[in-house]
Protein backbone atom coordinates (compact mmCIF):
# COMPACT_ATOMS: atom_id res chain seq x y z
CA UNK A 1 0.00 0.00 0.00
CA UNK A 2 2.89 2.37 0.81
CA UNK A 3 4.29 1.76 -2.67
CA UNK A 4 0.94 2.54 -4.20
CA UNK A 5 0.66 5.71 -2.28
CA UNK A 6 4.15 6.78 -3.34
CA UNK A 7 3.33 5.98 -6.93
CA UNK A 8 0.11 7.92 -6.58
CA UNK A 9 2.04 10.98 -5.41
CA UNK A 10 4.60 10.61 -8.20
CA UNK A 11 1.82 10.38 -10.72
CA UNK A 12 0.26 13.54 -9.38
CA UNK A 13 3.34 15.40 -10.60
CA UNK A 14 2.62 14.28 -14.13
CA UNK A 15 -0.96 15.42 -14.15
CA UNK A 16 -1.87 16.84 -17.48
CA UNK A 17 1.23 15.60 -19.25
CA UNK A 18 0.26 12.39 -20.91
CA UNK A 19 -1.12 10.51 -17.97
CA UNK A 20 -4.28 8.48 -18.18
CA UNK A 21 -6.22 7.77 -15.03
CA UNK A 22 -8.69 5.02 -14.72
CA UNK A 23 -10.89 4.04 -11.84
CA UNK A 24 -11.92 0.51 -11.17
CA UNK A 25 -13.59 -0.84 -8.07
CA UNK A 26 -12.86 2.30 -6.10
CA UNK A 27 -9.09 1.97 -6.56
CA UNK A 28 -7.23 4.33 -8.83
CA UNK A 29 -4.62 3.13 -11.26
CA UNK A 30 -2.69 4.93 -13.93
CA UNK A 31 -0.91 4.12 -17.14
CA UNK A 32 1.99 6.30 -18.14
CA UNK A 33 2.20 7.22 -21.81
CA UNK A 34 5.61 7.51 -23.37
CA UNK A 35 5.83 10.19 -26.07
CA UNK A 36 4.25 9.02 -29.31
CA UNK A 37 2.96 5.84 -27.71
CA UNK A 38 -0.66 4.86 -27.98
CA UNK A 39 -2.43 3.85 -24.81
CA UNK A 40 -0.83 0.52 -23.94
CA UNK A 41 -3.21 -2.28 -23.20
CA UNK A 42 -3.37 -2.55 -19.40
CA UNK A 43 -2.11 -5.69 -17.66
CA UNK A 44 -5.56 -7.20 -18.13
CA UNK A 45 -7.81 -5.32 -15.80
CA UNK A 46 -11.43 -6.31 -16.12
CA UNK A 47 -14.46 -6.58 -13.96
CA UNK A 48 -17.34 -8.96 -13.52
CA UNK A 49 -20.54 -8.97 -11.54
CA UNK A 50 -21.93 -11.39 -8.96
CA UNK A 51 -25.66 -11.73 -8.41
CA UNK A 52 -27.13 -14.26 -6.04
CA UNK A 53 -30.28 -15.74 -4.57
CA UNK A 54 -32.73 -14.28 -7.07
CA UNK A 55 -35.39 -16.75 -5.75
CA UNK A 56 -37.62 -16.19 -8.78
CA UNK A 57 -41.04 -17.44 -7.67
CA UNK A 58 -40.76 -15.94 -4.18
CA UNK A 59 -43.91 -13.88 -3.53
CA UNK A 60 -44.05 -13.54 0.24
CA UNK A 61 -43.23 -10.93 2.83
CA UNK A 62 -40.99 -8.88 2.45
CA UNK A 63 -40.95 -9.16 -1.37
CA UNK A 64 -44.25 -9.72 -3.22
CA UNK A 65 -42.45 -10.41 -6.53
CA UNK A 66 -38.78 -11.33 -6.66
CA UNK A 67 -38.81 -10.79 -10.43
CA UNK A 68 -39.22 -7.05 -9.95
CA UNK A 69 -36.12 -6.66 -7.79
CA UNK A 70 -34.11 -9.04 -10.00
CA UNK A 71 -34.99 -6.82 -12.96
CA UNK A 72 -33.77 -3.82 -10.97
CA UNK A 73 -30.50 -5.65 -10.28
CA UNK A 74 -30.04 -6.25 -14.00
CA UNK A 75 -30.79 -2.58 -14.72
CA UNK A 76 -28.11 -1.71 -12.16
CA UNK A 77 -25.62 -3.93 -14.00
CA UNK A 78 -26.50 -2.36 -17.34
CA UNK A 79 -25.88 1.09 -15.88
CA UNK A 80 -22.39 0.30 -14.55
CA UNK A 81 -19.83 2.79 -15.92
CA UNK A 82 -17.41 0.00 -16.86
CA UNK A 83 -19.03 -2.83 -18.75
CA UNK A 84 -18.41 -6.09 -16.87
CA UNK A 85 -17.07 -9.08 -18.79
CA UNK A 86 -19.71 -11.47 -17.46
CA UNK A 87 -22.08 -12.30 -14.61
CA UNK A 88 -21.72 -15.02 -11.98
CA UNK A 89 -24.98 -16.22 -10.45
CA UNK A 90 -24.19 -18.00 -7.19
CA UNK A 91 -27.38 -20.01 -6.88
CA UNK A 92 -30.98 -20.12 -5.74
CA UNK A 93 -31.95 -18.85 -9.17
CA UNK A 94 -35.44 -20.19 -8.46
CA UNK A 95 -37.61 -20.60 -5.41
CA UNK A 96 -38.92 -24.09 -6.24
CA UNK A 97 -36.91 -25.29 -9.30
CA UNK A 98 -39.93 -24.80 -11.59
CA UNK A 99 -39.36 -24.41 -15.34
CA UNK A 100 -41.41 -21.19 -15.39
CA UNK A 101 -39.19 -19.73 -12.66
CA UNK A 102 -36.03 -20.53 -14.63
CA UNK A 103 -37.67 -19.12 -17.77
CA UNK A 104 -38.42 -15.84 -16.00
CA UNK A 105 -34.92 -15.65 -14.54
CA UNK A 106 -33.33 -16.27 -17.94
CA UNK A 107 -35.49 -13.70 -19.64
CA UNK A 108 -34.59 -11.04 -17.06
CA UNK A 109 -30.87 -11.88 -17.08
CA UNK A 110 -30.81 -11.79 -20.85
CA UNK A 111 -31.52 -8.07 -20.68
CA UNK A 112 -27.98 -7.58 -19.33
CA UNK A 113 -26.54 -8.80 -22.62
CA UNK A 114 -23.63 -10.55 -20.89
CA UNK A 115 -22.48 -14.16 -20.57
CA UNK A 116 -23.73 -15.74 -17.33
CA UNK A 117 -22.13 -18.55 -15.30
CA UNK A 118 -24.27 -20.40 -12.78
CA UNK A 119 -23.80 -22.65 -9.78
CA UNK A 120 -26.89 -24.11 -8.09
CA UNK A 121 -28.36 -23.35 -4.67
CA UNK A 122 -30.48 -25.75 -2.63
CA UNK A 123 -33.64 -24.15 -4.04
CA UNK A 124 -32.49 -25.31 -7.49
CA UNK A 125 -32.54 -28.96 -6.31
CA UNK A 126 -36.29 -29.22 -5.73
CA UNK A 127 -37.49 -30.78 -8.99
CA UNK A 128 -38.30 -34.48 -9.27
CA UNK A 129 -34.79 -35.10 -10.62
CA UNK A 130 -33.23 -33.31 -7.61
CA UNK A 131 -31.41 -30.71 -9.66
CA UNK A 132 -31.67 -32.23 -13.13
CA UNK A 133 -33.70 -29.26 -14.42
CA UNK A 134 -30.95 -26.88 -13.31
CA UNK A 135 -28.14 -29.04 -14.71
CA UNK A 136 -29.86 -29.43 -18.07
CA UNK A 137 -30.16 -25.67 -18.33
CA UNK A 138 -27.00 -24.30 -16.72
CA UNK A 139 -24.65 -27.15 -15.87
CA UNK A 140 -23.09 -27.81 -19.25
CA UNK A 141 -19.48 -26.87 -19.88
CA UNK A 142 -18.15 -25.33 -23.10
CA UNK A 143 -18.36 -28.75 -24.77
CA UNK A 144 -22.01 -29.16 -23.85
CA UNK A 145 -21.24 -31.77 -21.21
CA UNK A 146 -22.21 -31.90 -17.57
CA UNK A 147 -19.29 -32.61 -15.30
CA UNK A 148 -20.22 -34.44 -12.10
CA UNK A 149 -22.95 -32.45 -10.36
CA UNK A 150 -22.25 -29.44 -12.56
CA UNK A 151 -18.89 -28.13 -11.30
CA UNK A 152 -16.55 -26.52 -13.84
CA UNK A 153 -13.77 -24.03 -14.33
CA UNK A 154 -12.78 -21.46 -16.92
CA UNK A 155 -10.15 -18.78 -17.45
CA UNK A 156 -10.59 -15.10 -18.12
CA UNK A 157 -7.79 -12.54 -18.58
CA UNK A 158 -5.35 -14.62 -16.56
CA UNK A 159 -7.76 -15.35 -13.69
CA UNK A 160 -8.86 -18.93 -13.07
CA UNK A 161 -12.55 -19.28 -12.13
CA UNK A 162 -13.84 -22.39 -10.37
CA UNK A 163 -17.56 -23.03 -9.92
CA UNK A 164 -18.22 -25.51 -7.10
CA UNK A 165 -21.48 -27.27 -6.19
CA UNK A 166 -22.07 -27.66 -2.45
CA UNK A 167 -25.82 -28.31 -2.37
CA UNK A 168 -25.83 -31.94 -3.55
CA UNK A 169 -25.30 -35.14 -1.54
CA UNK A 170 -26.26 -33.35 1.67
CA UNK A 171 -26.28 -35.54 4.76
CA UNK A 172 -28.63 -35.49 7.75
CA UNK A 173 -27.23 -33.18 10.41
CA UNK A 174 -24.63 -31.73 8.04
CA UNK A 175 -24.13 -28.46 6.19
CA UNK A 176 -23.09 -27.83 2.59
CA UNK A 177 -21.09 -30.63 1.02
CA UNK A 178 -18.61 -30.90 -1.86
CA UNK A 179 -17.95 -34.65 -1.88
CA UNK A 180 -14.92 -36.73 -2.78
CA UNK A 181 -15.55 -36.75 -6.53
CA UNK A 182 -15.63 -32.98 -6.71
CA UNK A 183 -12.57 -32.62 -4.47
CA UNK A 184 -10.65 -35.05 -6.69
CA UNK A 185 -11.67 -33.02 -9.74
CA UNK A 186 -10.64 -29.76 -8.01
CA UNK A 187 -7.24 -31.19 -7.16
CA UNK A 188 -6.68 -32.11 -10.78
CA UNK A 189 -8.06 -28.81 -12.05
CA UNK A 190 -5.71 -26.76 -9.86
CA UNK A 191 -2.64 -28.98 -10.35
CA UNK A 192 -1.54 -27.36 -13.59
CA UNK A 193 -1.95 -23.76 -12.39
CA UNK A 194 0.96 -21.69 -11.18
CA UNK A 195 0.74 -20.35 -7.62
CA UNK A 196 0.69 -16.81 -8.99
CA UNK A 197 -2.56 -17.38 -10.91
CA UNK A 198 -5.35 -15.44 -9.23
CA UNK A 199 -8.17 -17.85 -8.35
CA UNK A 200 -11.84 -17.01 -7.98
CA UNK A 201 -13.99 -19.74 -6.45
CA UNK A 202 -17.73 -19.27 -6.65
CA UNK A 203 -20.27 -21.47 -4.93
CA UNK A 204 -23.61 -21.16 -3.12
CA UNK A 205 -23.14 -22.00 0.57
CA UNK A 206 -20.24 -20.31 2.43
CA UNK A 207 -16.96 -22.23 2.22
CA UNK A 208 -16.11 -21.40 5.80
CA UNK A 209 -18.07 -22.29 8.90
CA UNK A 210 -19.99 -19.11 9.42
CA UNK A 211 -22.86 -20.31 11.62
CA UNK A 212 -23.28 -24.09 11.89
CA UNK A 213 -26.47 -23.75 13.98
CA UNK A 214 -28.17 -22.61 10.78
CA UNK A 215 -26.14 -24.84 8.48
CA UNK A 216 -24.10 -21.88 7.20
CA UNK A 217 -20.93 -23.67 6.22
CA UNK A 218 -19.60 -26.56 4.14
CA UNK A 219 -18.68 -29.84 5.85
CA UNK A 220 -15.59 -30.59 3.75
CA UNK A 221 -14.52 -27.05 2.87
CA UNK A 222 -11.20 -27.49 4.70
CA UNK A 223 -10.12 -29.98 2.05
CA UNK A 224 -10.93 -27.55 -0.75
CA UNK A 225 -9.15 -24.71 1.02
CA UNK A 226 -6.15 -27.00 1.52
CA UNK A 227 -5.92 -27.43 -2.24
CA UNK A 228 -6.09 -23.63 -2.65
CA UNK A 229 -3.51 -22.84 0.05
CA UNK A 230 -0.51 -22.53 -2.28
CA UNK A 231 -2.10 -19.79 -4.40
CA UNK A 232 -1.17 -16.18 -3.70
CA UNK A 233 -4.62 -14.73 -4.36
CA UNK A 234 -7.84 -16.62 -3.76
CA UNK A 235 -11.23 -14.92 -3.75
CA UNK A 236 -14.21 -17.01 -2.61
CA UNK A 237 -17.64 -15.68 -3.60
CA UNK A 238 -20.86 -17.21 -2.35
CA UNK A 239 -24.50 -16.43 -1.61
CA UNK A 240 -27.02 -18.37 0.50
CA UNK A 241 -27.13 -16.13 3.57
CA UNK A 242 -28.49 -12.99 1.85
CA UNK A 243 -26.12 -10.52 3.48
CA UNK A 244 -22.58 -9.23 3.06
CA UNK A 245 -20.09 -10.86 5.41
CA UNK A 246 -16.37 -10.83 4.64
CA UNK A 247 -13.39 -12.53 6.10
CA UNK A 248 -9.72 -12.90 5.17
CA UNK A 249 -7.67 -15.92 6.09
CA UNK A 250 -4.11 -15.84 4.78
CA UNK A 251 -4.33 -15.34 1.04
CA UNK A 252 -7.99 -16.28 0.91
CA UNK A 253 -10.69 -13.60 0.94
CA UNK A 254 -14.25 -14.80 1.58
CA UNK A 255 -17.20 -12.67 0.49
CA UNK A 256 -20.83 -13.68 0.92
CA UNK A 257 -23.25 -11.64 -1.19
CA UNK A 258 -26.63 -10.04 -0.80
CA UNK A 259 -29.67 -11.55 -2.42
CA UNK A 260 -31.73 -9.76 -5.04
CA UNK A 261 -34.94 -11.10 -3.43
CA UNK A 262 -35.01 -10.75 0.39
CA UNK A 263 -32.59 -10.33 3.31
CA UNK A 264 -31.94 -12.88 6.05
CA UNK A 265 -31.12 -12.17 9.69
CA UNK A 266 -27.56 -11.82 10.94
CA UNK A 267 -26.24 -15.11 12.38
CA UNK A 268 -28.16 -16.03 15.52
CA UNK A 269 -30.19 -12.80 15.55
CA UNK A 270 -33.57 -14.51 14.99
CA UNK A 271 -35.34 -17.76 15.86
CA UNK A 272 -34.39 -19.10 12.44
CA UNK A 273 -32.79 -18.05 9.16
CA UNK A 274 -36.07 -17.33 7.35
CA UNK A 275 -36.71 -14.16 5.33
CA UNK A 276 -36.16 -10.97 7.31
CA UNK A 277 -39.40 -9.02 7.09
CA UNK A 278 -38.18 -5.49 6.56
CA UNK A 279 -40.60 -2.63 5.76
CA UNK A 280 -41.24 -2.17 2.03
CA UNK A 281 -39.36 1.14 2.02
CA UNK A 282 -36.20 -0.55 3.31
CA UNK A 283 -36.20 -3.68 1.16
CA UNK A 284 -33.88 -2.34 -1.52
CA UNK A 285 -31.29 -1.25 1.06
CA UNK A 286 -30.94 -4.92 1.95
CA UNK A 287 -30.69 -6.25 -1.62
CA UNK A 288 -27.74 -5.82 -3.90
CA UNK A 289 -25.26 -6.58 -6.63
CA UNK A 290 -21.52 -7.05 -6.34
CA UNK A 291 -18.83 -5.86 -8.74
CA UNK A 292 -15.41 -7.53 -8.65
CA UNK A 293 -12.48 -5.93 -10.45
CA UNK A 294 -8.97 -6.97 -11.24
CA UNK A 295 -7.36 -3.57 -10.96
CA UNK A 296 -3.75 -4.57 -11.30
CA UNK A 297 -2.07 -7.90 -11.70
CA UNK A 298 -0.67 -9.19 -8.42
CA UNK A 299 -3.11 -7.28 -6.25
CA UNK A 300 -6.18 -8.65 -4.50
CA UNK A 301 -9.39 -8.28 -6.47
CA UNK A 302 -11.42 -5.22 -5.55
CA UNK A 303 -14.87 -6.22 -4.33
CA UNK A 304 -17.59 -3.57 -4.20
CA UNK A 305 -21.09 -4.30 -2.93
CA UNK A 306 -23.87 -1.93 -3.92
CA UNK A 307 -27.46 -2.00 -2.73
CA UNK A 308 -30.46 -1.67 -5.02
CA UNK A 309 -31.64 1.42 -3.13
Amino acid sequence: MATDRRRFLECMGWAGTGLVWSMAGGTASSVLLAPGQALAKPATPFSFVQVSDSHIGFTKDPNPDARVTFREAVAHIKALPNKPAFILHTGDVSQLSKPAEYDDADQILKEAGLPVFHVPGEHDMLDEGQGKAFLDRYGKDANGKVQGDGWYSFDHSGVHFVGLVNVKQLKAGGMGHLGDDQLAWLKQDLAARSASTPIVVFTHIPLWTLYPEWGWGTDDSAQALGLLARFGSVTVLNGHIHQVIQKTEGHVAFHTARSTAFPQPAPGQAAGPGPLKVPAGQLRDALGVRTVSLVRSGQPLAVVDQSLA
Partner: protein, 107 residues
Protein backbone atom coordinates in the same frame (compact mmCIF):
# COMPACT_ATOMS: atom_id res chain seq x y z
CA UNK B 1 -71.73 -66.84 -2.03
CA UNK B 2 -67.98 -67.19 -1.79
CA UNK B 3 -67.62 -63.73 -3.27
CA UNK B 4 -69.99 -62.36 -0.63
CA UNK B 5 -68.04 -63.96 2.20
CA UNK B 6 -64.76 -62.59 0.91
CA UNK B 7 -66.24 -59.13 0.70
CA UNK B 8 -67.61 -59.44 4.21
CA UNK B 9 -64.26 -60.61 5.56
CA UNK B 10 -62.46 -57.71 3.87
CA UNK B 11 -64.99 -55.24 5.27
CA UNK B 12 -64.67 -56.51 8.81
CA UNK B 13 -60.87 -56.56 8.49
CA UNK B 14 -60.69 -52.94 7.40
CA UNK B 15 -63.18 -52.04 10.11
CA UNK B 16 -60.99 -53.75 12.71
CA UNK B 17 -57.81 -52.04 11.52
CA UNK B 18 -59.53 -48.65 11.35
CA UNK B 19 -60.63 -49.10 14.94
CA UNK B 20 -57.17 -50.15 16.05
CA UNK B 21 -55.30 -47.38 14.23
CA UNK B 22 -53.61 -45.04 16.70
CA UNK B 23 -54.46 -41.36 16.61
CA UNK B 24 -52.60 -39.48 13.89
CA UNK B 25 -49.78 -37.12 14.88
CA UNK B 26 -48.77 -33.82 13.30
CA UNK B 27 -45.24 -32.41 13.27
CA UNK B 28 -45.01 -28.72 12.46
CA UNK B 29 -42.07 -27.27 10.58
CA UNK B 30 -41.37 -23.78 11.88
CA UNK B 31 -38.29 -21.56 12.07
CA UNK B 32 -36.21 -24.24 10.32
CA UNK B 33 -36.99 -26.84 13.01
CA UNK B 34 -39.17 -29.92 13.28
CA UNK B 35 -41.53 -29.38 16.20
CA UNK B 36 -41.43 -31.73 18.04
CA UNK B 37 -37.93 -32.87 17.20
CA UNK B 38 -38.58 -36.39 18.52
CA UNK B 39 -41.95 -38.12 18.61
CA UNK B 40 -42.74 -41.59 19.95
CA UNK B 41 -45.71 -43.34 18.37
CA UNK B 42 -47.36 -46.78 18.21
CA UNK B 43 -47.00 -48.95 15.09
CA UNK B 44 -49.55 -47.98 12.46
CA UNK B 45 -49.49 -44.28 13.36
CA UNK B 46 -49.90 -41.83 10.52
CA UNK B 47 -47.61 -38.84 10.91
CA UNK B 48 -48.26 -35.63 9.01
CA UNK B 49 -45.65 -32.92 8.60
CA UNK B 50 -46.98 -29.42 7.98
CA UNK B 51 -44.67 -26.71 6.67
CA UNK B 52 -45.47 -23.53 8.60
CA UNK B 53 -42.34 -21.70 7.33
CA UNK B 54 -42.26 -19.25 4.45
CA UNK B 55 -39.39 -21.24 2.96
CA UNK B 56 -39.77 -24.68 1.34
CA UNK B 57 -38.57 -27.77 3.19
CA UNK B 58 -38.51 -31.54 2.71
CA UNK B 59 -38.91 -34.55 5.00
CA UNK B 60 -36.46 -37.31 4.08
CA UNK B 61 -35.40 -40.44 5.98
CA UNK B 62 -31.74 -40.21 7.00
CA UNK B 63 -31.10 -43.48 5.13
CA UNK B 64 -32.66 -41.79 2.07
CA UNK B 65 -34.86 -44.89 1.65
CA UNK B 66 -37.68 -45.29 4.17
CA UNK B 67 -39.58 -42.15 3.10
CA UNK B 68 -39.02 -39.02 1.09
CA UNK B 69 -41.43 -36.13 0.64
CA UNK B 70 -41.64 -33.91 -2.38
CA UNK B 71 -40.73 -30.31 -1.72
CA UNK B 72 -43.21 -28.78 0.76
CA UNK B 73 -43.96 -25.13 0.16
CA UNK B 74 -45.69 -23.03 2.81
CA UNK B 75 -48.81 -24.84 4.04
CA UNK B 76 -47.98 -28.10 2.22
CA UNK B 77 -48.22 -31.43 4.05
CA UNK B 78 -46.52 -34.81 3.85
CA UNK B 79 -48.01 -37.93 5.40
CA UNK B 80 -46.41 -41.28 6.14
CA UNK B 81 -47.71 -44.26 8.10
CA UNK B 82 -45.16 -46.02 10.29
CA UNK B 83 -46.11 -49.70 10.19
CA UNK B 84 -43.04 -51.28 11.81
CA UNK B 85 -41.33 -50.56 15.12
CA UNK B 86 -37.94 -48.87 14.92
CA UNK B 87 -36.17 -45.53 15.12
CA UNK B 88 -36.53 -43.38 12.04
CA UNK B 89 -34.11 -40.45 11.80
CA UNK B 90 -34.99 -37.90 9.18
CA UNK B 91 -33.89 -34.49 7.93
CA UNK B 92 -34.69 -31.70 5.52
CA UNK B 93 -32.64 -32.56 2.43
CA UNK B 94 -32.23 -28.90 1.51
CA UNK B 95 -31.41 -27.67 5.04
CA UNK B 96 -29.71 -30.76 6.44
CA UNK B 97 -29.02 -29.19 9.84
CA UNK B 98 -32.78 -29.66 10.36
CA UNK B 99 -33.17 -33.15 11.83
CA UNK B 100 -35.91 -35.06 13.57
CA UNK B 101 -36.72 -38.52 14.85
CA UNK B 102 -39.75 -40.81 14.88
CA UNK B 103 -39.57 -43.63 17.43
CA UNK B 104 -42.13 -46.37 16.67
CA UNK B 105 -42.72 -48.57 19.71
CA UNK B 106 -45.30 -51.28 20.38
CA UNK B 107 -47.20 -50.95 23.66
Amino acid sequence: MRLFLTALAAASLSFASAQAAPAPVTVKIENFTFNAQTITVAPGTTVTWLNDDDIPHTVVAADNKAFRSKVLDTGDKFTFTFASPGTYDYYCSIHPHMTGKVVVKGS
